[in-house]
């Protein structure tokens, strides 16, 4: 009985040691992945901040004004003035295209007259 207990204990120690060994390496692996991810996140954040800065720089009012002036012929952009406000009913909506008749059905007045005569 006693020796069985010893054997079980020894086996349990072996088992636990093996489990601890595996957990240790798994943890190290996860930590390594986390570090890599954090580096990636950091790099992405830096990239985003650079892109945001560049976006702000490209949209600076001076440059937009210059672009509007350069492309005046094509865009015709002018500074907003009070007389440019309008009402909704001043807007000319695009004309609705006329209905296309694909399968015409002939309607003749002759038939109608004939049925009228028949009913009389």
């Amino acid at each position: 009985m006693k020796s069985l207990l010893y054997a079980i204990t020894a086996l349990a120690v072996f088992g636990l040691a093996f489990w601890a060994y595996r957990e240790n390496y798994a943890t190290q692996q996860v930590l390594k992945e986390t570090r890599a991810l954090q580096r990636e996140i950091g790099a992405a954040q830096v990239r985003i901040s650079v892109l945001r800065a560049e976006w702000a720089y490209l949209n600076r009012p001076d440059r937009l004004l210059e672009l509007a002036e350069l492309n005046f012929e094509r865009l015709g952009l002018l500074p907003l003035r009070p007389d440019q406000f309008g009402r909704v009913d001043e807007v000319t909506y695009p004309v609705q295209p006329a209905l296309q008749i694909s399968e015409g059905v002939d309607v003749s007045g002759l038939n109608a007259r004939r049925t009228e005569e028949a009913s009389q």
Partner: protein, 594 residues
């Protein structure tokens, strides 16, 4: 184990033959056996103590060793902590009211030299001077070959410059990562933003600190790592600010002015939508503060809106009129004696021209009569006037949140006599900044409540302390409207936006006392739309002069007013105000009580 017999037969027989007691032998042996057992157990106990002692020694040694290691090793961030790069987002961004970036961070590099690692200093200097033409060849060579082991060459370099330096290939030339402050919009809102520079510098990082404007005022907030992703939202609107700067710059050049400033403020929330001071500068390359010269306002760093303490002239008359009406001394139609000149001791008060012997209070404001306003001030009295201006915030610096605002302390008369009260009533003898004036006009415009001008985005109206009754504020607004429709500010008629306002032209003081004959500060303080004001616009031109109708003209009506009108025409649509027809005045019905 061999046990020793307690009664060895040989010795017992021997003892018997000698007639001795053989029991003594047994006792003797028992005693000896006990002695042996005692020695053995003591040895065992000592052995145990030793083992235990060694065990504890090892345990304590392990603890001590760990402590020693921890104490001497470099501190390191725990690996499994919150994600995020520590160098990026060192300082929080600054954005406008719609979230557009006004200031952000940018990664760059600094260039430094470890001179003892240089292989060919001569070549390194030659090539560096090619890349950075502003470096001095001889000076740099002397430093490179001198006793110094370490020196900075450039604090910020571009990626192209970095590559060029890298291509020199000298191991003594080294780069340190840096985070620099970037103002993508250039000089737009330069005076508000201020600027930033490096504080403590190391090879691997440097502190970015604000040196002026909001950058300095909110330095603690911006530097707090907890606020890294929470940008500071200002009340400025980038589009409006850029348009205001452009129009004011054009106006300043047209009116041949030395400087100009404008403040556009929401009358309910106190938010400053745009504040311009010209000439301005690029905060990315903030110029050095002036070290010589008498007049600080020559420097582009000078913020006229909050630091320019000047007498703002007739724009103050509306405060006198509003207070007189609020105290119940007069109504807009009360007739005041305006025969001039008004003498007070050695001092005499004159009008720009003679407007007749008597005028109504409205007429006094419309025609901008000094004599009439001084008469009102006499009725009010010096003490009540000072208290009223104090309520309007005219007696101390504005609470506007940029560091420069603390430099805008109003200049007040040492002794607030009755004569002072009379001159102050038309804006002479008291010097304030345009920001003070904007806050004062906002109080008139919003129905009589004080609003403190703020640069931070607000959620709702301020509802500050009440300064005057709603009724008096309304009467004052109607007077301001009359100034535009039939008075000195007739150029301010902007179709669709009912502008009300008051002009002010004040002679510029000489630095050594007295006033210039031909240099003025022209101010136009306006509110729009006058029947339900939403915004206050203050425009001030420094030394304007324009020739119109064959005459040299400097008064605000000819200089500041047309500029302000152009600004309102440009800015009001950007603020989302639709042009509207002014509601006609209801004749025959007078509001008697509220």
């Amino acid at each position: 184990m061999i046990r020793k017999p307690l009664r060895p037969l040989a010795r017992v027989l021997d003892a018997r033959s000698k007639g001795e007691n053989p029991d003594a032998i047994e006792k003797e042996n028992i005693r000896q056996r006990h002695d042996d057992m005692q020695v053995k157990s003591r040895q065992r106990a000592e052995g145990r103590l030793l083992v235990l002692g060694v065990f504890f020694l090892c345990a304590y040694a392990a603890v001590a060793g760990r402590m020693g290691v921890m104490a001497t090793s470099e501190p390191r961030e725990p690996v499994a902590s919150i994600a995020g790069s520590s160098i990026a987002m060192q300082r929080a961004d600054i954005v406008d009211r719609q979230g557009r970036i006004l200031a952000t961070n940018f990664e760059t590099h600094s260039l430094y030299v470890q001179t003892q690692q240089l292989i060919d200093p001569q070549n390194a200097v030659d090539r560096l001077v090619e890349i950075f033409p502003d470096l001095d060849h001889a000076e740099l060579l002397a430093k490179f070959t001198g006793a110094r082991k370490f020196l900075w060459i450039k604090k910020k370099i571009s990626p192209e410059q970095k590559q060029a330096v890298h291509d020199i290939g000298d191991p003594g030339l080294l780069f340190g990562p840096r985070e620099m402050r970037l103002y993508p919009n250039g000089s737009v809102a330069a005076h508000v933003l201020g600027g930033a520079s490096f504080g403590k510098e190391g090879v691997s990082a440097a502190e970015v600190i604000g040196v002026a404007g909001v950058e300095k005022q909110f330095d603690d907030y911006l530097r707090d790592p907890a606020n890294g992703s929470k940008p500071l939202a200002l009340s400025l609107d980038l589009t409006v600010q850029a348009a205001a700067e452009r129009v004011l710059d054009g106006g300043m050049k047209l009116m041949n002015a030395k400087g100009a400033t404008s403040i556009l403020m929401d009358v309910h929330t106190g938010e400053v939508i745009s504040v311009v001071s010209l000439p301005d500068f690029d905060p990315n390359e903030r110029p050095a503060p002036p070290t010589s010269g008498f007049d600080p306002s020559v420097s582009p760093l000078f913020n006229r809106a909050v630091q320019g303490v000047y007498e703002l002239g007739s724009t103050f008359k509306i405060f006198t009129a509003a207070q007189a009406m609020d105290l119940g001394l007069v109504t807009p139609d009360t007739i005041i004696d305006t025969r001039g000149p008004l003498r007070w001791g050695k001092f005499s008060i004159k009008d720009y021209r003679n407007y007749g012997n008597e005028m109504s209070v409205t007429k006094i404001i419309v025609k901008s009569s000094n004599i009439g306003t001084a008469r009102l001030a006499q009725q009010i009295g010096a003490e009540r006037q000072r208290d009223f201006l104090g309520e309007l915030g005219m007696l101390e610096e504005t609470p506007f949140e940029i560091v420069e605002a603390q430099g805008g302390k109003p200049l007040l008369p040492a002794n607030w006599s009755e004569l002072s009260a009379m001159t102050i009533s038309y804006g002479h003898g008291i010097s304030t900044t345009p920001m003070h004036l904007a806050a004062g006009y906002a109080a008139v415009a919003n129905g009589g409540r004080y609003v403190s001008p703020t640069i931070l985005k607000q959620d709702g109206p301020q509802l500050g302390r009440r300064i005057m009754s709603e009724h008096s504020a309304e009467a004052a607004r109607s007077m301001l409207r009359h100034v535009v429709t039939e008075g000195t500010a007739s150029f301010a008629r902007v179709p669709g936006y009912q502008v009300g306002g008051k002009t002010g032209t004040a002679d510029k003081p000489r630095p050594l006392g007295g006033y210039y004959e031909d240099k003025v500060i022209a101010t136009f303080a306006s509110i729009f739309p006058a029947h339900d004001p939403k915004y206050v616009l203050v425009v001030t031109l420094d030394e304007p002069s324009v020739s119109a109708h064959g005459e040299e003209r400097r008064t605000a009506g000819w200089t500041a007013v047309p500029v302000a009108a152009e600004m309102i025409g440009r800015l009001a649509p950007l603020l989302g105000l639709r042009p509207q027809v002014e509601p006609a005045e209801v004749t025959g019905i007078t509001l008697t009580s509220n």
